[in-house]
Symmetry: C6
Subunit: 75 residues, 6 copies
């Protein structure tokens, strides 16, 4: 299973870097909970809980910080 799509942190744009951050966070979850049915069952509860969403957004922010540094902030 690929944890990092295309095996690189380099993206053309910040937007693509952000998409990569979300993908990387999701793939970590997939590496821990490998059963897609369980992941699907968890989704409704977590996507309707504000704190769960904030926690997920936090992880994306941390992943994105790494990706942004890797890309020299697309300056």
């Amino acid at each position: 299973m690929a944890l990092i799509p295309e095996n690189t942190l380099i993206t053309d744009t910040p937007e693509q870097g952000r998409e990569l951050a979300i993908a990387m966070a999701r793939k970590t979850i997939g590496a821990i909970q490998t059963d897609p049915n369980v992941r699907k069952e968890l989704r409704p509860g977590y996507a309707t809980n504000a704190d769960s969403l904030t926690m997920a957004a936090h992880v994306v922010a941390v992943e994105f910080a790494t990706i942004a540094a890797a890309n020299n902030y697309w300056r």
Copy 2:
């Protein structure tokens, strides 16, 4: 859907960088919970809970750290 408005981390001022941090955090939530009605329903509960607000402020702080570095801290 745009995850990063204007597709850049570069802003003219710290204030604008801060606004971008808030926007980016919100857009991540929007990417996870795509139904605007659900997001609207979650808002009253979370905006009146001190810990939920602190958690949200934490995410903004992390996003802002990245944006500030991207802008060389607007020195």
Copy 3:
């Protein structure tokens, strides 16, 4: 509403940087929960809960890390 007082991360001293970190964290909360009365009502509960205080201190620490880097650590 100003999210960053004086629109700069640069301060004369670490102490002032710390005050800015606290102010920035508070202003994020103010941007999410715009009603000052609600914020005031939340305060007693959160200021008498050890974990809530620790969570708030965490956010200040993250904001301060950015401000300290912006100021080259006031070396």
Copy 4:
């Protein structure tokens, strides 16, 4: 017990860096809770709880940030 497999942060690819991040996080847990049976018993509960999974993903993101910096982001 080895906390860092092969005792290096350097990897050939981002994907391998990501695997190392997951391994390092797991080995920390193993260093704190040294009984493998207890760890095994904890797994079902935590792998079926969305917030627990998000917390775990957060730790992986932090470990990966360090590994990515160590590898100059595999640029």
Copy 5:
């Protein structure tokens, strides 16, 4: 009230940097909950709760990261 003792992040040794990290975290709490009696009352509950202690240790780790960078890691 001084948020940063001696108004500097520079210390002679890592040990002193660590003490500063703890002091800074505590002073943030003191800035939010200004009543020393309330802080004293909160202490027994929080100092006997493992997760509360871990949360506090997390804040110290974040403060220390900033202090260590400020001191070029005392290399």
Copy 6:
């Protein structure tokens, strides 16, 4: 009480850096809860709770990030 064993962040290997990260996190806890009996009593509950273990692993990851930077990632 020593918060940082040997008063340095410099280690010979990543593995030793990791051990230092765990030691530093533990010593912070010891600085906050100074009674070793209380710490011992807390251990069973926290070492058999997945989220508590994840929180502890998070702190170790943050400490390690600082130590790794101090050692130029042992490159």
